[in-house]
């Protein structure tokens, strides 16, 4: 996948400037106390690779963004100054590259060399922010509700695309089904119009031909023996096209049919109208529901339009398209009640739409008659009414437009024009008053009208057939896609389940060697149960300890990653994750831990942040006095030897890196005497009394500080009980606070060391500092000072933590060491 060789970070998150050399792309741990910038390093690397910072996106991060909160807190107005430069090796193409990404342009990294294969490889990495796992994220797999777990796991496995395809297929089949219903209603209307004209009870070919042949016989035209798709009912009529369409009896029947239907208009769709009005009343009584419904429709439209990281609804740019979709989907889920109401409104609207199609068909017939008879006023009335009803039909098909129909539905949804009954009656009477057509003309116009209506019917039947085929195809495709998807997901979950159980057993083999787990997918949910010491399957949060649960999170993450990337899962960023693994089930060395046996199964390189005790660097001012600096400014990159399940050599492999420009400067937290005797007193907890007696330069405040600190620590660590404890602690803390206040006004100390026993703790600290305080040569040091050679010979310069400009060179440093180093601030 990728190997990280080095990182240069500037003004990103809590880091002002930092260089980390990952050597040949091996596993490293970034260790340090709280606030030292471990997670900042992980964030920066994640940003460099993906353009995203996981902790600033996703659930619970409302109001946070990479652009606003990615830069260092003092550089928020200068996002251009915040950038990450990563040197990487891409094993699959055998090339190295440098990727530089600015916070101000997260989507436009500068890649050198800009080869297309390098760009493609880095683009693929950028699409996988899941290579980074933080502690707060692991529980999302374990303790969340089944529905949320399903969403999270679908998200991490990139199942969103599959879900999106399924959803699009479903929406397509719903739309086509609605279209098919409309086509059926139109076909029904066409059939009724034809039957009305032919005066036949059913539309059977025999009945049709009988009605037609009766007229044809009268006109001495050959009878039609068989009704085919090409059959013309008026075939043989001379100048059929010039004949009037008006057929008196047919026109009267059309108008009477409309008049008959009009009697039922007051009750037409009464049930559906009542249901819609009830829904609208509910909306009026609950503005929040209305708001949710309005937003739902809005958001659904937006979701359909999403095709980039820019929200189509508000133009806000998201980290990625997936996040945007998740955000919109979450909003839709919240409005479940609104969804029910929406469905009910849509269903009732659909019934009314079909009824409208019937009415419109009758109005169309009457409108033709009116126009043919020169009744312009009535024709215009009917045309206007039809237009109005067409508009209503369109509104009934969309929920957001139904919600504005309350007045229309209350007043009578068909909105029958005032003059309609009178005009209809007048036209009917006018036609009835006309002299009867001759038998020949009646037969001729009967046949021409029959042919027109048969043509119309054939057309709507063809459309209905096409709509049926379209819907049936879409439905079949949707069903098959769901079936295939379900099979594949079940296989996937079975694989994940098996891997998860294997991994968990690997780190808990001492007490849970028979551990098993069960992932059960169901309708939008993913239930997760684990075996609790062979007592049965229970949810992970039921009986397992917090540590075990965290361990499960890591194991499930690794199992998912294995499924997602298979053998290509070779790189991961783990932020504060390994400490969450149950303490008795992790690999321990010094203060750090990593489930090595587990991780090494896949990964070539891990960069992991690990919390350690507060690093107090030993600082020697003069022989006999030492300072402890609380090294919040230091984080340590340590190399892990995966082959041997151990951290590489504890000293040589630790690459100390300094996080510059802390929000607050390093502070002297303890000044205490230090024994120069080899092997003694190199532990903060060693005898204070011995140190005190051995010291001869002890200042009073310093002693008080020591005592205060020591006793406060004792009071905290040992049970003194009740009031005594509280009083002593209160008094001591006040003393310590007072003395600290005094001391903190002084310059902070210079980093140096004494008692540098190879392999000892002090030596380790000194070695960590050595990288920072690198020196060439030590000739200036006296013989006595050679005791501090292991450090001193590395010293070359010391850079001020506070201003960054005060760099002390080796010569100056030597002189200062010989004098009193406390005057140099670092």
């Amino acid at each position: 996948m990728i190997k990280l060789k080095s990182a240069h970070i500037e003004e990103v998150r809590g880091i002002r400037k930092l260089d980390i050399d990952f050597g040949d792309g091996k596993t490293f741990a970034i260790s340090g106390p709280n606030g030292s910038g471990k997670s900042g390093v992980i964030d920066a690397i994640e940003f460099g690779l993906t353009g995203q910072i996981g902790r600033l996106t996703g659930r619970g991060t409302g109001g946070l963004s990479v652009s606003d909160h990615g830069p260092h807190v003092d550089k928020t107005k200068f996002p251009d100054a915040a950038f990450v430069e990563l040197k990487v090796f891409l094993p699959e193409i055998g090339k190295s590259a440098t990727i530089t990404r600015k916070i101000s342009a997260p989507k436009k990294p500068k890649i050198v060399p800009a080869d297309s294969d390098i760009k493609a490889a880095l683009a693929e990495v950028a699409e996988h922010p899941e290579i980074m796992l933080s502690r707060r994220e692991i529980l999302r797999f374990i303790l969340v509700e089944p529905t949320k777990r399903s969403e999270e796991i679908q998200s991490i496995l990139k199942l969103d695309d599959i879900g999106q395809t399924r959803s699009a297929l479903n929406t397509a089949q719903n739309k086509l089904q609605a279209a098919q219903r409309t086509a059926t209603a139109q076909m029904q209307s066409g059939r009724e119009a034809l039957q009305l004209h032919l005066q036949i009870p059913t539309l059977r070919a025999a009945d049709l031909l009988e009605a037609v042949n009766t007229r044809r016989k009268l006109l001495e035209l050959p009878e039609i023996g068989e009704l085919t798709a090409d059959t013309k009912l008026d075939a043989g009529l001379s100048d059929a096209a010039k004949l009037p369409e008006f057929n008196k009896q047919s026109a009267i029947r059309d108008l009477q049919a409309l008049a008959g239907a009009a009697k039922g208009f007051p009750d037409l769709g009464k049930t559906e109208v009542a249901a819609i009005l009830s829904g609208l009343a509910k909306l009026a009584a609950d503005p929040a529901l209305l708001s949710a419904l309005q937003r739902r429709s809005f958001i659904e439209k937006g979701l359909d339009l999403v095709n980039s990281t820019e929200c189509p609804l508000c133009d806000h740019t998201w980290e990625n398209e997936q996040r945007l979709r998740e955000h919109l989907k979450a909003k839709l889920v919240k409005s479940a009640e609104a969804r029910k109401l929406q469905d009910a409104l849509q269903q009732n609207g659909a019934v009314m739409e079909r009824e409208l199609i019937q009415v419109l068909s009758l109005l169309g017939l009457a409108q033709k008659v009116a126009a043919g008879q020169g009744d312009e006023a009535f024709a215009q009335l009917l045309t206007g009414w039809k237009t109005d009803l067409d508009g209503l039909k369109a509104k009934l098909m969309a929920v957001d437009s139904i919600t504005v129909l309350k007045d229309r539905l209350t007043a009578g949804w068909l909105a029958v024009p005032k003059n309609f009954p009178k005009s209809l009656k007048a036209l009917t009477e006018k036609i009835q008053a006309k002299p009867d057509q001759t038998a020949a003309l009646d037969a001729q116009t009967f046949l021409t009208t029959a042919q027109i209506r048969l043509g119309d019917y054939r057309e709507v039947t063809r459309k209905n057939k096409a709509a049926e085929i379209a819907w049936s195809s879409a439905n079949a495709a949707y069903e098959i896609y769901c079936s295939v998807m379900e099979d594949e997901l079940n296989t996937l979950y079975e694989d994940v389940q098996a891997d998860f159980s294997t991994f968990y057993r690997a780190i808990n083999e001492d007490d849970e060697a028979k551990f098993t787990a069960k992932l059960t997918p169901s309708e939008g949910k993913l239930d997760f149960d684990v075996n609790f010491y062979e007592r049965g399957l229970f949810p992970p949060g039921a009986y397992h300890s917090e540590g075990h649960q965290d361990g499960m999170g890591v194991c499930l993450y690794l199992a998912l990653m294995k499924r997602l990337f298979a053998a290509r899962f070779t790189f991961a960023l783990l932020d504060d994750v390994v400490m969450s693994v149950d303490a008795s089930h992790r690999y321990l060395e010094e203060d750090v831990a990593l489930p090595v046996p587990l991780v090494k199964q896949f990964l070539d390189q891990v960069v992991v942040s690990i919390q350690t005790k507060a690093n107090r660097a030993l600082v020697c001012l003069v022989p006999g006095i030492a300072l402890y600096l609380n090294l919040h400014c230091f984080i340590f990159a340590r190399r892990l030897d995966l082959k041997n399940d151990r951290w590489a050599h504890p000293v040589a492999a630790k690459l100390p890196v300094c996080r510059e420009g802390l929000e607050s400067p390093p502070r002297i937290v303890l000044l205490r005497l230090w024994s120069l005797r080899r092997g003694r007193g190199n532990r903060p907890g060693s005898s204070l009394l011995r140190d005190a007696l051995g010291g001869f330069l002890l200042l009073c405040p310093t002693l008080l500080l020591c005592l205060g600190h020591r006793l406060a620590a004792l009071s905290a660590n040992h049970t003194l009980g009740g009031l005594g404890h509280s009083l002593l602690r209160g008094i001591l803390l006040r003393i310590r606070r007072r003395i600290c206040g005094l001391l903190l006004r002084r310059p902070t100390g210079l980093l140096c060391s004494s008692n540098l026993l190879p392999g000892g703790r002090t030596h380790g600290v000194a070695s960590r500092l050595g990288r920072l305080l690198h020196v060439k040569g030590s000739s200036r040091l006296t013989k006595r000072r050679r005791k501090i050679m292991p450090v001193a010979e590395r010293l070359c310069s010391v850079q001020c933590f506070q201003c960054g400009d005060c760099v002390v060179d080796a010569a100056t440093l030597g002189a200062k060491v010989r004098k009193n180093l406390c005057s140099i601030h670092v």
Binding site: I162, A168, A172, I469, S473, A474, A477, Y481, S483, R568
Partner: protein
């Protein structure tokens, strides 16, 4: 390695070919859509399923 999306698409198309509910022309159009490996919009599916049987030649 084929993604899960691609695996599902392949099996989906294979099963569709066995189905009598959808003609070969539409399956081919679906294959082209899915091969583009991007998010497919509802309207694109509607267009494919609404094609006349046997293609869109008139």
């Amino acid at each position: 390695m084929a993604t899960l999306q691609q695996q599902i698409a392949e099996k989906f198309l294979a099963k569709l070919s066995e189905s009598k509910d959808i003609d070969a022309g539409k399956i081919e159009q679906l294959r082209n859509l899915l091969a583009e490996n991007r998010k497919i919009k509802t309207e694109e599916f509607v267009k494919v399923f609404s094609l006349p049987a046997g293609g869109d030649l008139k």
